[in-house]
């Protein structure tokens, strides 16, 4: 009976995993490996979204969303060492108007992510901290029966091949076991 339950749990987990990675991007992005993501971003954190708020930018020309994350792990850089980090992404909903960035990041209150953050100029918001690499810079933390996994939001997004000829997002659709992901990112950050 225990084995059957495990099978059932495994089947349900696979369905849940498939649903969790369903969001996919569009747009046109060149594939970045974990090494590229680590080297080209200022900080990397793992944490849970505890506040998310969309607003018009100062000029009223673009909807931006401010996101606050309670940080569980700082993998690179100084951001988040005081327990949380706040950043801004393009898109969101204000009233009945939505700006949707095709291939952007998918962020939801209460969900956990690994995030690659850097400063970037966004419309009406120069030099803000953001997920510069869009879906490639956000890994959704997914719980499976055996382990937590970090699944790239670009995993189902057909990326342009990088200089090595690889087009699959790091970890592919199954993602990378979270502890392994954390080790890899820390090692890559230390190697820099």
């Amino acid at each position: 009976m225990v084995i059957r339950r495990r099978k059932l749990h495994l089947a349900l987990a696979l369905v849940a995993l498939a649903a969790a990675i369903a969001p996919a991007g569009a747009t046109t992005l060149v594939r970045m490996g974990l090494d590229d993501l680590v080297s080209m971003n200022e900080s990397v954190v793992v944490g849970r979204v505890v506040d998310i708020h969309s607003r018009w930018n100062e000029g009223g020309t673009f909807i931006l969303t401010d996101v606050k994350v309670a940080v569980d792990d700082v993998l690179k850089g100084g951001r988040g060492r005081n327990g949380d980090v706040t950043f801004t992404v393009m898109g969101g909903t204000v009233g009945d108007k939505t700006v949707l960035i095709v291939g952007g990041v998918e962020l939801e209150y209460g969900s956990s992510y690994a995030l690659f953050l850097s400063r970037e100029d966004l419309p009406g918001a120069p030099g803000v901290v953001t997920v510069r690499d869009h879906g490639q810079g956000a890994f959704t933390i997914v719980e499976t029966p055996t382990a937590m996994r970090a699944v790239s939001q670009a995993s189902q997004h057909p990326l342009l091949a990088d200089w090595k000829g690889i087009s699959e997002a790091p970890g592919g659709a199954e993602g990378i076991e979270l502890n392994q992901f954390i080790r890899q990112v820390r090692d890559l950050a230390r190697a820099r």
């Binding site: 099978k7 969001p23 046109t28 992005l29 998310i52 969101g92 291939g103 962020l107 342009l160």
Partner: protein, 212 residues
């Protein structure tokens, strides 16, 4: 118990297979309520619907700053490709140049720039402005000026990428059909300039579900 479990899994598998459409194209669904959405991949008959235009006439303007100069031909050709889809009334047309930028200003704009949230390994970025959930009221596409955008058929072929991004602005997500304009991952060349049957079917799906 074991038999019930087996039957359940078989029923689930049959349901998944049965729900798969004949075509490979997918549409863009907005799930932005309470979250930041990048657009879900959904089939034409998804109960939640998908992003779409409510009007047939969609005029586009080209910002000629950056590498925008001389790209009007590529844009007009890409627009014609989608305009010529049979059994779909969508009429995307070229309305001339503009100084408008990456902004929610009521102008559908193609522009070439460094910035606009599209830097580094981002070649092009598409934004949809949606009203009341999933009605597209404006779209803009920004192309990363750090790359060389060509119109002579060499990489990166402007018309190819424009045709692809225009598909997104019409509410179409990616397909898995090799050679189709809306397949993800540009591998060079001018192939994406020409729409394939799967691309046509995607726009016809939009027309069928949300007539314009």
């Amino acid at each position: 118990m074991k038999r019930m479990l087996t039957i359940g899994i078989v029923v689930l598998a049959v349901a998944v297979v049965a729900s798969s459409p004949l075509w490979a194209f997918r549409m863009l669904q907005n799930t932005a309520v309470g979250r930041v959405s990048a657009g879900y991949l959904v089939t034409c008959n998804d109960p939640g619907g998908f992003t779409h235009w409510a009007n047939a006439n969609i005029s586009w303007r080209l910002n000629t700053s950056g590498q925008g100069a001389g790209k009007d031909g590529a844009l007009q050709n890409a627009l014609a490709s989608w305009r010529n889809v049979t059994s779909a009334n969508h009429n995307p047309t070229y309305a001339g140049t503009t100084t408008a930028g990456w902004a929610t200003d009521g102008i559908n704009t193609m522009l070439f720039a460094k910035g606009n949230g599209c830097s580094g390994t981002c070649l092009a970025l598409t934004a949809l402005v949606l009203q009341s959930g999933q009605v597209i009221v404006e779209t803009d596409v920004t192309y990363n000026s750090r790359y060389a955008w060509n119109t002579n058929g060499s990489n990166i072929d402007t018309e190819s990428i424009m045709a692809h991004e225009l598909g997104h602005t019409l509410g179409i997500h990616h397909t898995t059909v090799t050679g189709a304009t809306m397949v993800g991952g540009y591998s060079g060349g001018t192939g994406p300039r020409t729409l394939e049957a799967d691309d046509n079917a995607a726009l016809q799906c939009s027309q069928s579900r949300y007539p314009v």
